[in-house]
């Protein structure tokens, strides 16, 4: 599938030079200016330049992840289109690594290319009204119809972003209620166009609906769309969740970037708003934001030097707390204006910008930062147990059959 391209393989070590050469071959064969966007992205995938650390034939070259930067720089310089990664973040960040780790050859071939190109949007059907932090308590049922070779799924999922645009969902469902909760779960790839899938917007405190509730009623999933073995879904889901935390809190920001930027700007531009009490709080938070920037920078340097530190587990905690405190200060700083809100109209934003819209929006949206992708309370447990090695709380839910748990 990479005919005519610079050869790669076990005998040829992949270097920045070979990757650069392949990128230039792609650009020569598919000049961005004269090529349809989707056609160009498909060709890029087929040339192994989509995610170079993925295997050959699946959009990659089996190359070190660091070489992706070489490809991206070449393509950007040539004005090539990208796959709009923010629109398909759940597919790229969560579904893809899970399919790569657990999928059959047929599943990888079927799903990864349209996922990466952006032809098929993915969503995540994990959380339920009764299973948030305790995801393994989930109650959505999947029952095998042996005659048809299909699973029949019934239940309700919640906090599903992109569900209204999605073609596929990664789904965890209970296949054996008689087993302890972690053991009776199976992981599926769910067709969001199935007639039993109903997506309803979930309006949140900002007035808009980034998320959805998804009702699953008699949804039929072919057994070929099961990911991993029956009953092994919890291990598969952990792969997805680890990738989720890597993708949150890992972004690089400049000094005085992010949530502190509009507050500092308002302070400089509007002297009439200044008070001594607000000044002290502004300086404390400015310092904390700068230290958080440095901590994130240090983490990136450790990763780049091949010494991954445990700081990664903590960055999201810091980010959530600071976003909340800084946006709270901003509302207060603005005085009368802080009493107002831009617009409560119910909307369905395509992209979410925590630092967008007005101060009231930022304040309200930041409340989600300590809940989404793992609550701060759960993350503190993770730091305490995995980083500091403190013992877990005694639990009585691990060995009981799921059907006998309190709910």
């Amino acid at each position: 599938m990479t005919t005519g391209a610079t050869p790669t393989g076990p005998s040829t070590p992949i270097t920045a030079e070979t990757v650069r050469a392949r990128t230039r071959e792609l650009l020569a064969a598919q000049p961005p200016a004269g090529t349809d966007r989707t056609a160009f992205l498909r060709a890029r995938f087929d040339a192994g330049l989509a995610w170079v650390h993925y295997p050959e034939g699946l959009g990659g070259l089996g190359a070190p992840r660091s070489l992706q930067a070489v490809v991206d720089a070449e393509l950007q310089a040539a004005g090539a289109p990208d796959n709009d990664p923010r629109r398909i973040g759940i597919g790229l960040g969560m579904a893809a690594p899970t399919i790569l780790a657990y999928g059959t050859e047929e599943q990888k071939q079927r799903f990864l290319r349209p996922l990466w190109v952006g032809e098929e949007v993915w969503c995540q059907l994990f959380s339920e009204p009764g299973a948030g932090s305790d995801l393994a308590a989930l109650a959505t049922r999947a029952v095998l119809d042996e005659g048809a070779g299909e699973w029949v799924v019934d239940g309700q999922k919640v906090w599903t972003s992109s569900a209204h645009n999605a073609r596929w969902g990664i789904l965890v469902a209970r296949t054996d209620p008689a087993l302890p909760k972690h053991q009776g779960i199976t992981y599926f790839l769910c067709d969001m166009h199935d007639p039993g899938v109903e997506v309803r917007p979930l309006r949140q405190i900002t007035g808009e609906a980034e998320f959805n509730e998804v009702f699953l009623t008699g949804v039929r999933i072919p057994d070929a769309h099961r990911l991993g073995a029956v009953g092994e879904g919890w291990a598969v889901a952990r792969t997805t969740l680890m990738n989720e935390r890597v993708s949150i809190g890992g972004m690089r920001i400049p000094r005085e970037g992010g949530m502190i930027a509009p507050v500092a700007a308002a302070w400089r531009e509007r002297p009439g708003l200044r008070t001594h009490a607000l000044h002290q709080r502004l300086l404390e938070l400015w310092v904390e934001a700068e230290v958080a920037r440095l901590t994130g920078e240090r983490l990136r340097q450790q990763l780049a030097a091949g010494q991954p530190g445990p700081e990664g587990s903590g960055m999201k905690l810091t980010f959530a707390r600071l976003n909340q405190e800084i946006s709270g200060l901003e509302v207060e700083l603005l005085g009368e204006e802080g009493l107002l809100y831009e617009d409560w109209t119910m909307r369905r934003p395509e992209l979410v910008d925590f630092t967008g819209r007005d101060a009231g929006y930022r304040y309200l949206r930041a409340k989600g930062n300590s809940i989404e992708g793992g609550t701060s309370e759960i993350l503190l447990n993770i730091v305490a147990e995995r980083v500091l090695g403190l013992p877990p709380e005694p639990r009585d839910d691990k060995d009981l059959a799921w059907k006998d748990l309190s709910r």
Binding site: P254, R255, E256, A264, W267, R268, P271, R274, T275, H276, H279, Q280, L282, L283, E284, W286, V287, E288, E290, V291, A292, L294, T295, E297, R298, Q301, Q302, A305, Q307, G309, P310, E311, G314, L317, T318, E377, L380, N381, V383, A384, E385, V387, L388, G389, L390, P391, P392, E393, P394
Partner: protein, 374 residues
């Protein structure tokens, strides 16, 4: 963003192999000769300094000359390396005059850049001579410099300075007077020990009565040298604070894992786990802030004053909180004289006043980042 606060090049926030080797050498020395029992026993004598330990640390390992170029008799290293030494000294609350002699006094002499200062600088770099700047430990970068000492004629000096750190261990005092900077033999001054909150960093009142001094710099040079040295010392103090905080966290985590109440390790209670997880986050952040300050000083980054102010505004509070959590989470034992937690609490609290409080440094941040007071 405005020009004065834009970072120039990305700071190197990690440790080099050579820095890790230096750390290992200092840590093993302190483990062998400066354990908590030894520090406490010395503190009880009222003479906490350990001259033999200082000799090995300063002269044999060569840490006293890290900031001094080789041509002036030093090791030709820099602030990043000195910061590593201070992290380890903070972890051990070691009673040695490193911050005063090897950092603050050394930086003042480097700032003088005069033939008169060079011989004394070489003495300090070799570790043979201990020098304490006769300034209050609370004197901060960016604060007005006091001038309590005046030239009393014929090259003699008269005046009194309070809360001078490590003066009791000093061979030489650096005195900022109205007519310039002077070196005064400690034997020619009256050094009256005070009862310090921090038992591991002795304080004294230094009184000069027509004391003879050797003039090292004119008033303008002297004031600039002292101001620059205070900035460096404040930046490096952040590393001492980060090291101290890390010891407190590690010690406390170890304690709550082994301490059983209610038939469980107390460290399995979520209330304690969350406190310690938050503290770990703060300590990891303090390390990044301290490393950024050391690197900015080492590279002479234009935004070094801001980076130092950020590190001081942040690390002081983390060190104090780490020591306070250490006392509280040890329960009754943390309140005893026998357990070393109090040595760390006292050092952390005194450090939060040394070289400017967090509030003072936030004021400097306001200036550098152009966030003016009302």
């Amino acid at each position: 963003m405005t020009a004065p606060t834009a970072p120039t090049a990305p700071a190197d926030l990690l440790y080099s192999e050579a820095e890790e080797e230096l750390r290992a050498a200092v840590r093993s020395l302190l483990a062998a000769r400066c354990d908590a029992g030894a520090v406490l026993a010395r503190a009880e004598t009222g003479r906490p300094h350990d001259p033999a330990l200082w000799h090995t640390l300063a002269a044999e390992i060569g840490t006293a000359g890290l900031l001094v170029p080789e041509k002036l008799g030093g090791q030709g290293a820099g602030h990043r390396e000195a910061a590593v030494v201070l992290e380890e000294l903070g972890r051990a609350v070691a009673p040695v005059p490193y911050l005063t002699s090897a950092v603050l006094a050394t930086e003042i002499l480097l700032g003088c850049d005069t033939a008169e200062a060079a011989p004394l600088l070489a003495e300090l770099a070799s570790g043979r001579t201990v020098c304490a700047p006769a300034v209050p430990l609370t004197l901060a970068p960016g604060a007005p410099l006091p001038a309590p000492v005046r030239d009393s004629g014929a090259g003699t000096l008269t005046g009194t300075v309070n809360a001078v750190a490590d003066a009791v261990a000093a061979d030489v005092l650096l005195v900022l007077a109205d007519t310039g900077l002077y070196a005064v033999r400690a034997a020619d001054a009256a050094v009256t020990p005070l009862v310090p909150l921090d038992l591991t960093r002795p304080l004294a009142t230094v009184t000069l009565e027509a004391a003879p001094g050797t003039r090292l710099a004119d008033p303008a040079t002297a004031r600039a040298a002292v101001a620059g040295a205070l900035l460096c010392a404040a930046g490096l103090l952040a590393s001492e604070q980060a090291g101290l905080a890390e010891w407190c966290l590690t010690e406390t985590v170890g304690h709550v894992k082994g301490r059983y109440q209610f038939n469980r390790p107390v460290g399995s209670f979520q209330a304690l786990k969350h406190r310690l997880a938050r503290l770990w986050l703060d300590v990891a952040s303090a390390r990044a802030a301290a490393r950024a300050a050391a690197d900015a000083l080492a590279t002479g980054a234009p935004d070094a004053p801001l980076t130092v102010a950020v590190a001081q505004a942040y690390c002081s509070g983390v060190a104090v909180r780490a020591a306070e959590e250490c006392v509280q989470l040890h329960g009754g034992i943390g309140m005893t004289w026998e357990h070393p937690a109090h040595l760390y609490l006292k050092r952390a609290k005194a450090d939060s006043l040394a070289l400017g409080t967090a509030g003072h440094h936030r004021g400097l941040v306001a200036d550098f980042a152009e966030l003016p007071a009302p």
